[in-house]
């Protein structure tokens, strides 16, 4: 199945807004760390509902925010959620970015990077489009150490890349990006029911759910583009 087929269904189901709500718990902390300046141009890779761009415009008044996504329904929805003239949406693929060399100050991506058909190619493209000193904030909930995420692949038709922390660092460096930071960002907002409520649909035990949200949370890897 294609990105369009898989994710257009999500968008029509309202899952774009559902993800926005859930991902915001950690994405807002990721966004808060980005050293954006008012004059910056930022790309949101796999933008979904486009919430990251709206948040960056509000918090930091960035000059332009571009949301790239492969699913037209996602983009149509994202476009309808904002009338900010500094935000624009583009259909494209992670592995063939339609942006000029050195044209962006920062790239943000939440829960999307691992859908790339060729993630090393995507990293190379990110390095290419970033200005020297530009950052790539790559946030994922699906990764090796998060054992609670491993089963997700079963419900998704797109092949997902499951790297561990070290593999993320190595892949960034192989693509010519400096690694400036790696961190687990806890989700302190998702409600965790009392022990008696377990097993639930998602978790065998309360401890497992605490580990998933409060400890493992979102894996953030920050890359920085060198001089070309």
């Amino acid at each position: 199945m294609s990105v369009r087929e898989e994710f257009d269904t999500w968008a029509s189901d309202g899952r774009d807004k559902g993800m926005e709500e859930r991902h915001w718990h950690t994405a807002r902390h990721v966004l808060a760390r980005m050293p954006v300046e008012p004059d910056d141009v930022v790309l949101d890779l796999g933008t979904g509902s486009g919430y990251a761009l709206r948040a960056l415009r509000e918090a930091s008044n960035i000059r332009r925010g571009y949301g790239l996504d492969g699913a037209p329904e996602m983009l149509r929805n994202a476009r309808s959620y904002t009338d900010d003239p500094a935000i624009a949406f583009i259909r494209g693929d992670f592995d063939a970015l339609p942006f000029a060399d050195d044209s962006l100050n920062h790239v943000f991506s939440m829960e999307a990077f691992y859908y790339a058909v060729d993630p090393l190619q995507t990293l190379g493209e990110i390095r290419r489009v970033l200005q020297p000193g530009g950052t790539f904030y790559c946030a994922v909930n699906y990764y090796e150490e998060n054992v609670h995420s491993h089963a997700w692949q079963e419900n998704i038709s797109i092949e997902m890349t499951r790297w561990d922390r070290r593999e993320y660092r190595e892949a960034f460096r192989d693509a010519g990006l400096f690694v400036a930071e790696q961190d687990n960002i806890p989700d302190r907002e998702t409600e965790i029911p009392p022990a008696a409520a377990f097993p639930t649909e998602g978790f065998e035990t309360r401890e497992a759910m605490v580990e998933r949200y409060r400890e493992l949370g979102t894996l953030l890897t920050v890359g920085v583009a060198p001089e070309q």
Binding site: S2, R4, P72, R76, A88, R91, G92, A96, P98
Partner: protein, 64 residues
């Protein structure tokens, strides 16, 4: 899409500049049109205000 996007976008294949052909627009932006690569000549549609810059082999003909 707005014209200022032209400053930053390029052909996803060979990364060369694109040329804009407007079919329909309102005061704010281009609603229907085409982006044509100045190097390879590949054409990318603008539909409902959103440029489709997927590589042509990933483009689904069923696209709205």
């Amino acid at each position: 899409m707005k014209e200022d996007l032209m400053d930053i976008i390029c052909c996803p294949l060979d990364k060369h500049d694109l040329e804009l052909e407007v079919i329909r627009r309102d005061e704010a932006e281009i609603l229907e049109g085409r982006l044509v690569c100045t190097e390879c000549g590949e054409e990318y549609p603008i539909e409902d205000g959103i440029p489709n810059l997927l590589p042509p082999d990933m483009r689904d003909e069923a696209a709205a």
